[in-house]
């Protein structure tokens, strides 16, 4: 198996038939219960498995050549996947025609595309292992109920496809040309319904079939086109049901072409994939990786195909059990071992570079040699946090040494809290100062936290680490650290491809990450692990609001309700996507937030370099010299 195949982690890379690749999510029952004959809005961020789920439901997968037994029930819902050609759709506006004509044109285009896809689905059924409908049956089918639209509409399957394809070509030329009145009639929406009814009557196996149309990447449509799709959702009824998939925060308009809007429950049901994935992430994410390991690399792991591809209630129960989750965790920890903070502190003190550096920091603050020796001989975690205490205004050497002695003796001490609050930050500070990759980024647990609810990010961390393990049974911490940094750098770079405002998102991410990175460089570590912010006061600018929406939509930021809210604070906080943490050498744990005024945020987003630099100095209370101290070329 090619390493590149092993590392595939986007649904698009698997094609339309995902029968051999689709692992039934542990939460599939929850999704299935929502899949009635009411339209669905599937909402999920990048890497939530949205496209994979849609492709699984569609005819290419359900009637896959690889599916050897296909029950009659598979024909009750035939899924049609439509990822719209948005560059062509966006083109259907203005140019001497009013919106009404373009709306009809867009609707006509959807009629042609969906009709051709429905006809294509019949071929999938005919060519599949389904026993009651074959190629001969398809050739015998007659589509005689459509000639009311055009008396030239042919009745046979192949001719009908040729007819619709030709119409689509004419339409393409018309849209592309300098608009002149169309020389053809637009087939109305009802054409699809009549086509579906023809099929239902055409062969008994389709008698109860409902065609489920799934429109992916809905958010990339023009607003007037969203209104058309919303209208289809509102008026969906058997045998054609419209469903859409989009990123979070992407339903920008609930309006239809009429006076009504689409309303959840009344008109559609919503699947919030992010929430479901997040709830089951610790099981589902390792399952996918371990299955790929087993299938592509022939490594025995504890996951079994029969279970991952099963719809049995008992299997779902097992997959949701604590024991199974613990077993998976154990298995993943064996492959991707990590270290606790205290273990990392101990490791640091085995390294003379860290040891000498910490001792030098103590001596620089005029600690006597005897005390330095006492400190350096203390438990490693105390040694690592000690230099940070020297920077704090409240520091008193005598009291601190007393507390240190208590901690070393295993008694209750102020060091318990200090270590709890600052050790992680102090370790990052020390490693960052030496431009070394920190072992805290390694390990299955860290991978889970860094990828948050993003399956693609988790798999990227696992695949690339695994592919570098060499002959070892597991992936060394050093290898993981290098890989994590590389993946993180890729993900930061990928921001540049996230939609129309990608460059603004990228600049914002670089600036925000650099601000947190500068905070991390503070020797006192009094407020370590900053990686969140909130905006104090109301959001008054449309620009700010729309950029924030875009940042959340593309998961550069994760929005959540503010945990401790003061009177003048906006009710939400924003977590910087933890996958970017290794790139900036900051913490991936959700810990401390920085309050920004609206003006601060605007400087981050839109301000010039000078204003940004002064914001960083103000927020981090650094002086200019410290701030301008950059890393060397070797930090690449």
């Amino acid at each position: 198996m090619d390493d590149r195949d092993f590392a595939r982690n986007r649904a698009e890379e698997y094609g339309y038939d995902v029968w051999e690749s689709f692992i039934v999510p542990p939460f599939y029952r929850e999704i299935e219960s929502l899949r009635t004959n009411k339209p669905l809005i599937v909402e999920g961020g990048r890497g939530s498995g949205k496209t994979m789920l849609l492709r699984y439901w569609c005819h290419q997968t359900q009637f896959s050549e690889s599916r050897t037994e296909i029950p009659d029930s598979a024909l009750k819902k035939i899924g049609i996947y439509w990822k719209m050609d948005t560059q062509f759709a966006a083109f259907m506006l203005f140019r001497n025609y009013d919106e009404e004509i373009w709306n009809r044109a867009f609707s006509y285009w959807s009629v042609l595309t969906i009709s051709l896809s429905i006809l294509d689905s019949l071929k999938s059924v005919a060519m599949s292992h389904y026993p009651r409908f074959n190629k001969e049956n398809l050739d015998e089918m007659r589509f005689s109920g459509l000639n009311g639209y055009d008396e030239n509409i042919p009745e046979s399957y192949n001719e009908l496809i040729a007819y619709l394809t030709k119409r689509r070509q004419h339409f393409e030329s018309w849209v592309n040309s300098i608009p002149s009145p169309p020389t053809f009639n637009f087939l109305p929406y009802e054409f699809i319904v009549d086509l579906a009814n023809c099929i239902k009557k055409g062969h008994e196996v389709f008698k109860e079939t409902v065609f489920d149309i799934f429109i992916d990447e809905y958010e990339n449509l023009q607003v007037n086109q969203m209104h058309i799709i919303n209208t289809r959702i509102k008026h969906s009824e058997i045998p054609i049901i419209y469903n859409v998939a989009m990123k979070r925060n992407a339903l920008v308009t609930p309006e239809t072409l009429g006076n009504e809007s689409i309303v959840v429950v009344n008109d559609y049901r919503k699947i919030q994939l992010d929430e479901l994935v997040e709830e089951h992430f610790k099981v589902f994410a390792p399952e996918i990786f371990l299955w790929k390991l087993k299938k592509d690399k022939e490594v025995p792991t504890l996951v079994e195909k029969e279970e991952l591809f099963s719809y049995d209630d008992a299997v779902f129960e097992k997959r949701k059990s604590d024991k199974y989750r613990r077993d998976l965790g154990r298995c993943m920890n064996t492959i991707f071992p990590g270290m606790t903070e205290k273990e990392v502190a101990a490791l640091m003190l085995e390294d003379s570079v860290f040891k000498n550096r910490i001792a030098a920091e103590l001596r620089k603050k005029h600690i006597q040699d005897q005390d330095v020796e006492t400190i350096m001989n203390s438990k490693p975690e105390c040694v690592v946090v000690f230099p940070s205490l020297l920077e704090r205004a409240s520091f008193n050497l005598e009291d601190t040494l007393m507390e240190l002695a208590k901690y070393n003796e295993g008694k209750k001490s102020k060091f318990d809290d200090i270590i709890h609050n600052s050790l992680f930050g102090c370790i990052l500070y020390q490693y960052g100062s030496l431009n070394r990759t920190c072992p805290l980024y390694a390990g299955f647990g860290s991978f889970i936290t860094m990828s948050k609810d993003n399956l693609r990010h988790f798999l990227e961390l696992c695949y690339h680490s695994y592919l570098r393990k060499g002959q070892n049974d597991n992936v060394s911490i050093a290898t993981q650290c290098i890989t994590v940094k590389m993946v993180s750098e890729d993900m930061v770079s990928e921001i540049k491809s996230l939609g129309r405002r990608s460059n603004e998102l990228y600049t914002f991410a670089l600036r925000l990450g650099s601000l947190f990175e500068t905070s991390r460089k503070k020797p006192s570590q009094s407020e370590p692990e900053q990686n969140q912010f909130n905006i104090v006061g109301p959001l008054q600018s449309n620009d700010t609001e729309s950029l924030l929406r875009e940042l959340v939509k593309w998961s550069v930021l994760y929005e959540s309700k503010l945990t401790k809210q003061k009177a003048d604070e906006n009710g939400v906080e924003y977590l910087f996507n933890p996958i970017y943490a290794p790139y900036f050498g900051i913490s991936y744990r959700k810990k401390r937030r920085v309050p920004f005024s609206l003006k601060d945020f605007e400087i981050l987003a839109f301000g010039d370099e000078l204003k940004y630099k002064s914001l960083v100095l103000r927020k981090t209370k650094f002086n200019g010299d410290e701030y301008s101290r950059e890393r060397s070329l070797f930090d690449l």
Binding site: F88, I178, N503
Partner: protein, 312 residues
């Protein structure tokens, strides 16, 4: 004549002469020019070209509005189908026009050349001043190949007369510059897949070493998407790009179309425009473009100057 090189009937009258120098005085800009077409002045080299052309010629400032699908010429809105008429009215004729491709953007270049093809303007000149430096995004060493060339994009959106519906089976050609994300964005948002994808890098580049910036910014993406069809055409040599495009065109299956995304250097984009215009009658070639809003001061100082004498 380059007809022997571009072996296709569509290019039977086509010719291009390419002149290159370290200063505008060395490229022999025709003395008979009457009209120059420029775009927005966003950096030093655009200003440099404008200064050279202003006074010698009547200057037209052209911009395409991708929201409304119209052209703005000297602040007057013109429908695309009205452009040939505009050219006639303004008296633009053979050997009287120079387009400053330094500032004129890709779509404008395409629509102008197309309008020339439809009128009696068969010969014109195109000027292009290379940048001396691009400005990296941020000052860190790790960002040294990271250039902010665009502020935002209007998104991939068709241009009248040069659009088609994309299909996965179609061939895709990307001219590569520094902005790999634009290609990645096309592949992720459009139903085009990655089969039959061709990448053209500008080699030799404007300056020794600049090709490394392009490779560095593309390499992860190329590996990830498993893209192998890579070719090299001179960054300032439209003819070599056209030859490669024609090679790809010849491999198309009967029902296969070809989408070309000019997201590389401007001379490469010029080649794409010329190719699309000349091959329009084949009804198999289309433009793929995301309409960037270019960053102000994206480059510093003026590098070498190129002049292309074109006969359609």
């Amino acid at each position: 004549m380059v007809m022997n090189i571009l072996e296709n009937e569509a290019f039977s009258t086509f010719d291009i002469e390419m002149l290159h120098g370290d200063d505008i005085s060395k490229v022999d800009v025709s003395a008979d020019l009457k009209f120059s077409i420029v775009g927005p002045t966003i950096d030093e080299r655009c200003g440099f070209c404008l200064e050279y052309l202003d006074g010698k010629t009547k200057v037209y400032r052209v911009e395409y509005d991708s929201t409304n699908f119209v052209l703005c010429i000297n602040n007057t809105q013109i429908q695309i189908n009205e452009l040939p008429e505009f050219i006639k009215d303004e008296g633009w004729t053979n050997d009287s026009i120079i387009i400053d491709a330094t500032s004129v953007n890709v779509v404008e270049l395409l629509l102008l050349i197309d309008a020339f093809e439809k009128t009696d303007v068969r010969r014109f000149e195109v000027l292009y001043a290379e940048p001396k430096n691009y400005v990296p995004q941020g000052t860190r060493p790790r960002n040294r190949r990271d250039f902010k060339l665009s502020e935002k994009y209007d998104g991939y959106k068709g241009v009248p007369m040069f659009s088609k519906m994309t299909r996965e089976a179609d061939a895709k050609v990307f001219c590569c510059g520094y902005e790999a994300a634009r290609i990645q964005n096309a592949i992720e948002t459009l139903p085009i897949g990655t089969s039959d994808t061709y990448l053209l890098f500008g080699m030799p580049p404007f300056y020794v070493g600049w090709d490394m910036n392009a490779y560095y910014n593309h390499i992860n993406f190329l590996v990830k998407e498993n893209l192998h069809n890579i070719s090299y055409c001179g960054a300032t040599n439209p003819l070599s790009v056209m030859m490669r495009l024609l090679d790809i065109y010849k491999t198309l299956l009967p029902d296969q179309n070809m989408f070309i995304a000019p997201v590389g250097t401007k001379p490469m984009s010029l080649a794409v425009c010329l190719f699309l215009v000349k091959m329009a009658s084949s009804n198999k070639c289309a433009l793929l473009f995301d309409h960037p809003e270019k960053s102000a001061a994206r480059s510093k100082e003026v590098g070498e100057v190129n002049l292309y004498r074109i006969q359609l």
